[in-house]
Amino acid sequence: MTDTFFDERPLALVIEDDKALASGFAVAIDEAGYNTKIFNDGQAALDSLASAVPALVLLDLNLPFISGEEILRQMKADQRFARTKIVIVSANSTWGSYLQDEVTIVLTKPVGFRLLRDLAIRLYS
């Protein structure tokens, strides 16, 4: 990934505990034109969100230490993220569907490369 400090591209966070999946998601979002950062646990993601306001967050719900739901709750409560697009990627379609009104879109695993890349392009604004 390129140096973020000088990067003009919009920031995207991939918050997913499975490393293989996280890297794959990052490739797709990267190709859609984002500056992508990967977090494998909730706490690291929250630390980062304290200082940065991403354009897109790809959020897994089932995370160690701090759940995706908690991250979502905190982001929804923070005006800084009013324009941030949040995409939930969940293994549990029921759980995900409960949150579908809170977020931009809910994807159920397995998520395809092309679908994710095209979605990220669409959400690029």
Binding site: D18, L21, G24, E31, T108, K109, V111, F113
Partner: protein, 762 residues
């Protein structure tokens, strides 16, 4: 020997013949009653007397006449004794067999006979014989000696005593027999009169003895009594014997409803001495109102039932009152028959009680098998147990052997329960004071029995205080045991009085307890099964979710190899292989979806979203998703929507879409050529319909019967299915059910199939 014959001779002879005939006839009927034998004796005595007189009267020599006079005395002395014995026997006094009694009666007659045949020596009967001519007849005239008067006095006493005894019988007997007995009484009265006339010398011919002649009348009366009235055959004593010995009480009432006669059974029923009830009014004696007789004599109601309170408990009688009428239909009195039906009543009551119990048990069993919800079952059981034996309250307690406690799981209070008793114990936990050993060693209280009375010796102070707080007098405590495992207790309380439970009641409660235990056991098993099922579903869900992550990796990197700029264009073989891998990922994903849906449906955790959606948008989404698949098979996917369809419909669009995609997917899969048609229309004012038709092979009626079941696929319809584990249509059906809709299938082999899903608009 010279003879004289005239009308008197004839009359005396006929009288003798009648008396002889009577004696013979009666002798042949001697088995009819105890009184027949004295009657035979009487008739024989009269026969000897009148025959002797006939001969005496017919002869002309004085010495011959004297011999026949003496022979007559054999009959003359016997007649009063026989008459007296007949009267005694006839009125029910058994004297005939008492030989000393009879011997005593014959003392004077035998002395008389002795003096008759020794008259020449002592002249105690006759002092003088002479012949007189009177009315052209030669008649013996005699002067009587001292003993004759003794004999006469004795004879009259016996004749009178007998007559009085019979008269008393007349008064005691129902009217219908009274006049017959009256006629019978005429028989001895007539000769008595004749004899009186002769002895007093007031007759037309003073020397002529009218006594034997008047026996003609007497004989005729007896003959009439025997032949016309059959008195010997169905004599009053026979009736009397029956009436005395019958178990029913018989009471004869006069017109004032006073008791005129009772049999011994009636005396027992009334519980008083005969003397105390004779001529008493019947109604107060039966503890009944003055209209008792009128009440039971109403036409058509002659079989009434009355209850008598007799010292220990009630006694039931069936009462029958029949009018007594005389020959000209005048009401003379009534005869009342009391039949003791207490036993019958008790049996009836017992039977009714047993029926009631059986019914209770039956209803209880049905209630116990109608639900698997433990709380419902226990509430029903507590109520049934209380009502089954009419107790005041009941509790069902659950046992926790490890903690050594029982918990009140359910309680019921009858309307008769006292206010203190109604204090709820539900959920309270008590230390277990019962030794739950093996089933056959149940020790429910220190005395080792089911029933405890608060006031009995051996009840601990603690228990007593506890129970008295709820006003309880008696507790029935039955262990609940199923398959040898103690589950709890059934406790039934009685707060109104110290209660002794009958054996039937205990048996009933034991049976109820047995069924409660079984029902509890079943409910526990069911709860356990549900828990296992939920666990299974949750494991399945977790496993499915865990599978999604590696599947996600395969799909993501597979597609990355196909589409990412980082990868060079793959050779054709690699593309094809990668395509197959990704296709399998899709299949696997679909199957996991199905399994997840099914397990959610099984565990009742599938929840529908309350939402609204546009049917047009739904149709569009399904078309977008399915059209490519149809095109690849060379099929046409047609859509129509009725113009009257509402723009917005309430429902969970994702799930409705799932249903539709499932049906369309199947249709495309099994149709080789032609079209797959989707129609949306209104079914009625409250429902709308989605119809998916195809030009496929159709589904046979046998397959139609089971294709909606889980894990089943129609042989033809699904024969080449690559995806799905056979849950698709089953899930569709269950989802439609969940939406309060219904699904129908019309299909014939070779004619295509049409699935119609009808869903409520609201």
């Amino acid at each position: 020997m010279n003879w004289q014959f005239n009308l008197v001779t004839l009359a005396v002879s006929i009288s003798a013949l009648v008396a002889i005939s009577l004696a013979i006839y009666a002798w042949r009927l001697r088995a009819a009653g105890y009184w027949v034998k004295p009657f035979v004796l009487l008739a024989s005595a009269l026969a000897i007397w009148s025959a002797g007189y006939a001969v005496e009267f017919s002869t002309l020599e004085l010495s011959t006449k004297i011999i026949w006079i003496k022979i007559q005395y054999l009959g003359i002395v016997t007649t009063p004794v026989a008459w007296f014995l007949f009267a005694m026997q006839y009125s029910g006094r058994q004297v005939w067999r008492e030989r000393r009694y009879i011997a005593a009666l014959f003392v004077i007659p035998i002395i008389t006979l002795f003096f008759v045949f020794t008259n020449e020596a002592y002249h105690l009967i006759w002092t003088q014989f002479s012949l007189v001519v009177s009315h052209s007849m030669l008649i013996t005239d005699v002067e009587y000696g001292t003993w004759f008067w003794v004999h006469s006095a004795y004879s009259y006493v016996l004749m009178l005593a007998g007559t009085i005894i019979l008269l008393r019988r007349l008064r005691r007997f129902p009217a219908i027999h009274g006049w017959q007995i009256g006629i019978m009484l005429l028989a001895p009265i007539v000769p008595l009169l004749g004899n009186g006339v002769y002895l007093s010398g007031l007759g037309p011919i003073p020397e002529l003895d009218l006594t034997p002649s008047s026996f003609v009348v007497s004989g005729i009366i007896f003959a009439w009594g025997i032949f016309r009235l059959h008195l010997f055959k169905i004599g009053p004593v026979a009736r009397r014997t029956v009436v005395e010995n019958m178990s029913d009480g018989m009471i004869v009432l006069n017109l004032e409803n006073q008791i005129m006669d009772v049999n011994s059974a009636a005396v027992t029923i009334l519980g008083k001495e005969t003397a105390d009830i004779m001529e008493q009014s019947i109604e107060p004696l039966l503890n009944n109102g003055p209209d008792l007789v009128a009440q039971f004599e109403k036409p058509g109601q002659d079989n009434g039932k009355i209850v008598l309170d007799i010292e220990e408990g009630q006694q039931w009688f069936e009462i029958q009152i029949s009018p007594i009428r005389d020959a000209i239909q005048n009401l003379r009195g009534r005869v009342m028959v009391l039949r003791d039906i207490t036993e019958r009543k008790r049996s009836e009551a017992l039977l009714a009680q047993q029926n009631q119990m059986l019914q209770t048990l039956n209803q209880f069993s049905q209630a116990m098998s109608s639900s698997l919800d433990l709380q419902t079952l226990l509430s029903t059981a507590a109520k049934s147990a209380t009502e089954a034996i009419g107790a005041t309250s009941a509790y069902i307690n659950g046992l926790d052997l490890e903690r050594g406690t029982i918990t009140v799981l359910s309680e019921y209070f009858a309307p008769t329960a006292s206010p203190n008793e109604r204090v709820s114990n539900l959920g309270k936990i008590y230390p277990l004071e019962i030794d739950f050993g093996p089933p056959n060693e149940w020790r429910l209280n220190p005395a080792g029995k089911y029933v405890t009375h608060v006031d009995e010796v051996g009840v601990s102070e603690k228990t007593r205080t506890h129970l008295e707080q709820y006003d309880v007098k008696t507790v029935l405590n039955i262990p609940l045991y199923a398959k040898g495992k103690p589950l709890g207790t059934l406790e039934v309380w009685e707060s109104r009085y110290k209660r002794v439970f009958k054996n039937e009641e205990l048996s009933l409660m034991l049976e109820i307890a047995r069924q409660i235990a079984l029902a509890m056991d079943n409910a526990y098993l069911y709860e356990h099964a549900l828990a296992v099922n939920r666990l299974k579903s949750s494991i399945l869900t977790r496993v499915s979710h865990e599978l999604r992550t590696p599947l996600g990796v395969i799909k993501l990197y597979g597609e990355m190899m196909q589409y990412s700029q980082k990868f060079e264009t793959l050779p054709e073989e690699s593309q094809s292989a990668l395509g197959k891998i990704l296709e399998s990922v899709e299949d696997l994903t679909f199957q996991i979806e199905e399994l997840l849906d099914q397990s959610a449906l099984d565990a009742d955790t599938l929840v529908l979203r309350e939402d609204s959606f546009s049917p047009a948008k739904l149709l569009e989404k399904v078309y977008t998703q399915m059209n490519l698949m149809a095109k690849q098979k060379g099929l046409v996917l047609n859509l129509t929507m009725a113009p009257d369809m509402p723009e917005i419909i309430e429902g969970d669009m994702n799930r409705i879409q799932q249903i539709l995609i499932n049906l369309v997917g199947n249709a495309i899969k099994f149709t080789k050529e032609g079209t797959v048609q989707i129609d949306f229309c209104l079914h009625d004012n409250h429902q709308w319909a989605m119809r998916v038709s195809d030009t496929g092979p159709g589904i046979s009626s046998e397959e139609q019967a089971y294709i909606f079941e889980p894990f089943r696929q129609g042989q033809h319809y699904f024969s080449n299915a690559r995806t799905g584990v056979g849950l698709g249509l089953s899930i569709v059906t269950q989802l439609v059910d969940l939406m309060d809709g219904r699904i129908t299938l019309e299909s014939e082999v070779g004619q295509g199939s049409t699935f119609t899903v009808i869903l409520p608009l609201n």
